[in-house]
Amino acid sequence: MTDRPEGNAVSTPDLPVILELGVASRPPALTLAEASRLATVAADAGVIALRLRDTEPEPRQPHGGPLLDPSVVAAYLAGRESRLGYLVDVPTTHHAPYNVARRVLSLDRASAGRVGVVLRPGEGDEVSDAVAPAAPGSGSERWAEYATVLAGLWDSFPREALVGDVAGAVVVRDELLRPIRHAGRFYRVAGPIDGPSSLQGRPLLLAADADLRREHVAAHADAVILDVERDSATIPAADELLAALGRVGRERRDIRLVGRWSIEPQDLRDASALVRRVTERSTVAGLDAVVLAPRGAASVETTLREVVPALVPAAAPRSTPRSTLRDALRLAEVAA
């Protein structure tokens, strides 16, 4: 493990670190082969999870083309590096919720309960739209309904239903299954899902978009990713969100506030200063974790070697085989 930079007088908060990547097929973007190598570097450095982007955040971002599908990349990387968790960005656009519920749960079951989905608001999909009873509605309303469907499906096949009773010739106690029979404005989904639920109760559901309504995020998200403005001392969105929690009957411990730092190459010229900024702002804002989003493939390794070790407490356990992503973020158990 790398030593912490000398002269770091700020006590290191116990901040779980997530690394954000956009993986494409060709250089100069980060390629899969590079991402695979860096996943191991990340796990060694104490990163708890990779967040995989679906699209590039801004047009001017230098890249080699469109990004590879996050669920494909995550499944691939998880097959190589099992110590990390994986967060996949998925928009509602073009994705029927039953399909996403299955895909994310499959990833999660293959990764010992270390997966989450960053659900991005958007439009519908060709399959669902054909039968949507009343399609118009806000992106946030669709997002909230989508999140409801995901959670319901992820709970619909309790782990204890899978019994494999050879003598009694019963594989699954189907009386324990819970079809959701969801009939909403945007989606109608019967369920149940086709495989048992996650080790961590449910895969994590994350919000990352400022234009989602606070009540929707507060009601549905396990964690919210908040962009940290370079020049602002506070994160107003965090306070608004916490205020909304009470209105929807949830508590502070039910949601994780995750600050997202976009890291430019020039920020890395003084890694110690960057570390100080991240730790100070996180403490002031009461953040629970951070996402580091290095811009440019070359910045990823520098971030891992010079920034992450200073953020991850020396005593932080590397992801142990028994630790789920919910555990790593210190989220409460999911209510059954």
């Binding site: 691939y76 097959g79 994705h95 060709e126 399959v127 050879v166 989904v189």
Partner: protein, 410 residues
């Protein structure tokens, strides 16, 4: 005809028989763990098989109480297998009925990219009201409409692949199963690999010949289409051992499962019938009118027509399986059967479905494959790195592009 035949293994959860999960020495819920799939894939690669195959349907099987079902989404499983293998092909089933073509085109091209050009897409239509209800519908669209949508869906996806940057094999391979009239027309037009379910040699020869003619009619070269019948294997080191294994598979078949499955296939409530009598003719109808899987309906119907079994005999004969041909014997006997079909023009190879997974794979990998290699019928090493390469497929032009909006089935 190519010198070598092709072999896939269908990693069909616990195995192709209804009682596979209860077979002695089997962990009953192993197929609910990812390692089941990845370890089988690694063994299949060591044996130089063309591909692994995953069936799928976006629904929990109604038979889940008494039989294991597929339970992991195929692209996530295959991407993981891609990370842990280097050469073996990766064929996954995705429904044309309940997916968005824009999203599917991207995800599958990306899977092909990350695997180094090893992916094949098995296009299916999805039958049944339970699946329909997961996507807001009361019932699935009728058969012909499902296939019209499938045809347009495939063309849309392949056109998008053609517009995007090429993957290491150009674009994913298109695989298709489905022996209905609509299915055959679709296959002739767009499929590069066809999975079939034929019980008899003569019919299989005719089917393959018909498909190749259909393909030629669409301006394709016949060898752009590889036909792989399904083959369920029960292998023993002696014939007696193999037969005993087959008997044992029947013994562990949950009766409730077999009846539910057959009744579902035929659209008949079996509980009202006499086990010691054949199914009354009046209850059996024209396969073209069958709403569910026409392929399996035809297979079962043919069995009934040929053998006039009692209901009890029919249940046992099918052993709760999906209607694929079952071959029981030593590796040499199975190889004889495989060779006969291959040389007769009935098959370009087989989609193998071992009786039990993982134990039934032993007979394939340690017995059947070496015997076929010894006969010069199967590769002893990979010489290609892509699925197209393994299957001897070139990269033909894309099917005719129809840009009108997809017929979104209601």
């Amino acid at each position: 005809m190519s010198e070598h035949l092709h072999l896939n293994v269908n990693i069909l959860n616990a195995g192709v028989f209804g009682g596979s999960w209860r077979f002695p020495g089997t962990d009953p819920t192993a197929s609910y763990d990812i390692e089941h799939y990845t370890s089988i894939a690694r063994r299949a690669e060591a044996a130089k098989l063309d591909a692994v195959f995953l069936a799928d349907s976006p629904v929990l099987e109604s038979t889940i109480r008494h039989r294991t079902g597929n339970n992991l989404e195929p692209t996530t499983v295959l991407a993981r297998i891609a990370a842990q293998t280097e050469r073996i092909g990766l064929i996954g089933t995705l429904s044309s009925s309940y997916n968005d073509p824009v999203e599917v085109a991207r995800r599958l091209a990306d899977l092909d990219e990350v695997s180094g050009g090893r992916f094949g897409w098995n296009v299916v239509t999805t039958a049944g009201p339970a699946a329909a209800a997961n996507f807001g519908r009361d019932a699935e669209p009728e058969h012909a409409l499902r296939y019209r949508r499938a045809a347009h869906f495939v063309e849309t996806v392949v056109a998008r692949w053609d517009e995007g940057p090429p993957t290491p094999q150009g674009r994913p391979v298109v695989v298709q199963a489905g022996g209905s009239s609509d299915g055959k027309r679709l296959a002739g037009r767009v499929a590069e690999v066809v999975f079939s379910a034929e019980q008899q040699l003569a019919k299989a020869v005719a089917f393959r010949s018909e498909l190749r003619s259909l393909a030629a009619g669409f301006g394709r070269r016949p060898d752009e289409l590889v036909v792989l019948p399904g083959l369920s294997t029960v292998i023993g080191s002696t014939e007696a051992e193999a037969r005993a294994r087959r008997e044992q598979l029947d013994d562990v078949l949950p009766d409730a499962y077999a009846r539910a499955r057959l009744g579902g296939q035929l659209g008949i409530d079996l509980s009202t019938l006499d086990d010691e009598q054949p199914i009354p003719d009046a209850l059996l109808h024209d396969p073209d009118l069958a709403g569910g899987s026409q392929t399996f309906y035809r297979v079962v119907r043919d069995l009934i027509d040929r053998e006039q079994p009692t209901l009890r005999q029919l249940l046992r004969r099918l052993s709760g399986g999906g209607g694929h041909r079952i071959v029981v014997g030593t590796p040499e006997q199975v190889a004889d059967d495989v060779e006969r079909w291959f040389r007769s023009g009935a098959a370009d190879g087989f989609n193998l479905m071992p009786d039990v997974l993982p134990s039934g794979l032993d007979g394939v990998i340690d017995g059947l494959v070496p015997e076929l290699q010894r006969r010069g019928l199967f590769r002893t090493d990979y010489d290609a790195t892509t699925l197209r390469g393994h299957l001897g497929l070139g990269l033909p032009g894309v099917p005719a592009d129809d840009r009108t909006p997809l017929e979104a089935a209601r």
